[in-house]
């Protein structure tokens, strides 16, 4: 039982990373109806901003996190302005492919900065662990869960109460009508990318703060947020959080039990378990758990 609860706890921590990234995808999807394949690069860059802030500017962790969020948000806006704004109105597939191009280019620059060594951000409290009921969790993971909860709550408040949040919701609903109401739709696109960039930077910073640090192939984990948004539904914010946590849980529980229960699935099946979960969910619900069903009309 303890093993199970421990794996659930670890899954929540890992799932928080996916939830943050998934929220970023959903932000961009809701605003522009594009899936941004540039999210892995934004995550890696965010982690490296935090690394640069802690190791070169010698800032403590939390200020470095703020710096990374701001830099990540600016990077997101820059990408939107340079690569996507000229393409407004083009087929979404074209835009999605452009973000793949952005991702490749950005990651090359990140890899040049990184070199072959892993880059890690020191977390205050180091390897201290919190012990309770026979379970244990590192301070870093606890911090991640708390930060994710605060971020999600803040975003929810923003969309519920802030005027800009309302404007963003209006833009997501219908761009032309929003424009007619005096909302600057272009600014809303930029804002969506900025939020996505900031969320990716938080995720990246916490990824870089784990033992392994940020390496050249760390970007792969950002793609695991894709099954998360498919499971939750592409345009649902609660869906992104629930999907992200579900993916984290499935991954961590599979990692613990699959080698004993189903060894025929091979080593490291946990790494691809989210994709298997995605197929299962889609077989039952083609638009995810919370996604809006597309209405077909001629």
């Amino acid at each position: 039982m303890t093993t199970f609860l421990q794996s659930v706890l670890n899954g929540f921590a890992q799932g928080s990373i996916y939830a943050l990234l998934a929220l970023g995808y959903v932000m961009i999807y809701k605003a522009t109806h594009v899936i941004s394949f540039a999210q892995p690069a934004l995550m890696v860059c965010g982690g490296l901003f935090a690394y640069h802030a802690t190791s070169v500017f010698e800032l403590p962790f939390w200020p470095a996190l703020i710096v990374a969020i701001i830099a990540g948000a600016l990077l997101g806006m820059l990408v939107e302005r340079l690569a996507l704004r000229p393409m407004v109105g083009k087929p979404v597939f074209t835009l999605a492919i452009i973000t793949i191009g952005v991702d490749i280019v950005l990651r090359i620059f990140a890899n040049r900065y990184m070199g072959p060594d892993p880059r890690s951000v020191p977390y205050p409290g180091g390897s201290n662990r919190l012990e309770f009921w026979g379970l244990s969790i590192s301070h870093q993971r606890l911090g991640l869960i708390v930060v994710t909860a605060v971020t999600v709550a803040a975003l929810a408040m923003f969309f519920r109460y802030a005027k800009t949040g309302l404007a963003m919701r209006a833009t997501a609903l219908n761009q032309e009508t929003a424009l007619a109401q005096g909302i600057r739709v272009g600014t809303m696109f930029a804002l969506a990318w900025a939020i996505a960039g900031g969320l990716a930077a938080i995720a990246g910073t916490f990824v870089a703060a784990t033992g392994a640090g940020m390496e050249q192939n760390t970007w792969i984990i950002a793609l695991k947020a894709l099954p998360a948004i498919i499971i939750g539904g592409l345009d649902s914010i609660p869906g992104a959080v629930i999907g992200g946590l579900a993916v984290g849980l499935v991954e961590s529980i599979t990692a613990v039990y699959q080698p004993d229960v189903a060894p025929w699935l091979g080593n490291n099946f946990a790494l691809v378990a989210p994709y298997a979960l995605m197929f299962l969910v889609l077989l039952v619900k083609p638009y995810g758990l919370f996604g809006t069903k597309e209405v077909e009309r001629v």
Binding site: A83, I100, G101, V105
Partner: protein, 379 residues
């Protein structure tokens, strides 16, 4: 109207593709849909084929191998263009189908005494089998495409690549596992061993493989063109442009979406088996998301929904490493490595073509052609 009737009676018109001096005058659908519907097209295609049979005698073997691999990839690019370009079903899963084909070919045609599973069957069995097994994999994935649309489908096919990657890594007795790999199938057709180092009736290894790839490319290009210009191709176009409207006019969506995936996978399977037979040794890591993106780049850079564009795109992508080596010579030392330059070129080319020339190399060619068509009154 009267002049047309006088100078081109329909019976005669069906025989030739146009009236002399008026190549664009069509008097029947039959002419419009013909494989080479203008005399200029017919002449230039024949000229191009003859030219490509001369090429191997002018180039060195290392450059020939680049072109050989480019031509084999072109078969796969035509396949991806069928499903993504013609039928409009975005697939990021092409690498998976290529992998299925590569391993089917390698197992059926591999060395029976080697370290990995291999049955040593002849090429005329393993090559079609690789295509068929990949097509069956496409048939299994196809129904997903019926339920899902657009970007949902793109992500699901992306998931397929990751699951496939896992299976390829773990099935060690077939694939050799990561870091080890296995040998591809034996390239031997009609008693000619295309991978031997000995000259084959006066041809070097590079030249022989070039001809082999060229023949397969011609076969599959004509096959692809014929699919595209037949009723099936028109149904694909209808599904792409508006699937609800297509269903209303009687196009069976399930049938044609599944068909598009199966056909595209067949091309991918053939490419996989041939490509890695020419390469020699390959490991499961080859069939990653990057490979899918490469094929997507071929289609987008070459030209969506064109066969000649797919070929141009594939050759362009195959020559890209050479090109970046050449460019790297002008970049100051230590600024960027050749490999990184190549990756950046990929990204920039994909973005650049989509933003500035969405119809790809084919679009550039069309513009040049139209300029000279109207010359000296082009504007």
């Amino acid at each position: 109207m009267t002049t047309m009737l006088r100078s081109a009676p329909p019976a005669q018109a069906r025989k030739s593709t146009g009236v002399r001096g008026r190549p664009l005058l069509r008097t029947s659908y039959h002419q419009d849909l013909a494989l080479a519907n203008t005399p200029a097209k017919r002449r230039s295609v024949i000229g191009l084929v003859i030219a490509s049979f001369v090429v191997p005698f002018l180039l060195t073997d290392d450059l020939l191998q680049v072109l050989t691999l480019g031509m084999i990839s072109a078969v796969g690019a035509i396949g991806l263009n069928l499903v993504t370009g013609y039928a409009g079903q975005v697939s990021l899963g092409h690498a998976f189908f290529i992998g299925v084909g590569a391993y089917t070919g390698a197992v059926l045609g591999g060395d029976p005494d080697g370290a990995m599973l291999g049955y040593g069957l002849p090429m005329w069995i393993w090559l079609p089998a690789a295509g068929v097994v990949a097509a069956v994999a496409g048939l299994i994935v196809g129904p997903l495409a019926v339920r899902l649309r657009g970007l949902y489908l793109a992500i699901v096919t992306l998931g397929l690549v990751f699951l496939g990657d896992h299976v390829f890594r773990e099935a060690r007795e077939i694939t050799g596992g990561p870091g080890v790999g296995r040998r591809g199938a034996e390239l031997e057709l009609f008693g000619i061993d295309f991978s031997s180092m000995e000259p084959i009736s006066g041809l070097s290894r590079g030249q022989a493989q070039f001809f082999l790839a060229l023949v397969f490319l011609i076969i599959f290009a004509i096959l692809g063109r014929n699919i595209a210009r037949s009723g099936v191709g028109r149904a694909f176009g209808a599904v792409r442009d508006r699937d609800v409207a297509a269903a209303v006019i009687g196009v069976d969506l399930t049938k044609y979406k599944v068909m598009a995936f199966a056909m595209s996978s067949f091309f991918a399977g053939v490419t996989g088996a041939l490509y890695y037979a020419v390469i020699g040794v390959f490991e499961p890591g080859a069939f990653s998301l990057l490979l899918s993106i490469q094929y997507l780049a071929m289609v987008l850079i070459g030209g969506v929904a064109t066969i000649s564009g797919s070929i141009m795109g594939a050759l362009f992508i195959a020559l890209l490493p050479r090109l970046s080596q050449f460019i790297a010579g002008f970049v100051p030392d230590g600024l960027i490595s050749v490999f990184q330059l190549e990756a950046i070129l990929y990204g920039l080319l994909i973005m650049g073509f989509l933003i500035f020339e969405p119809r790809g190399l084919f679009g550039i060619w069309t513009r040049i052609r139209n300029y000279w068509k109207g010359w000296p009154f082009s504007y």
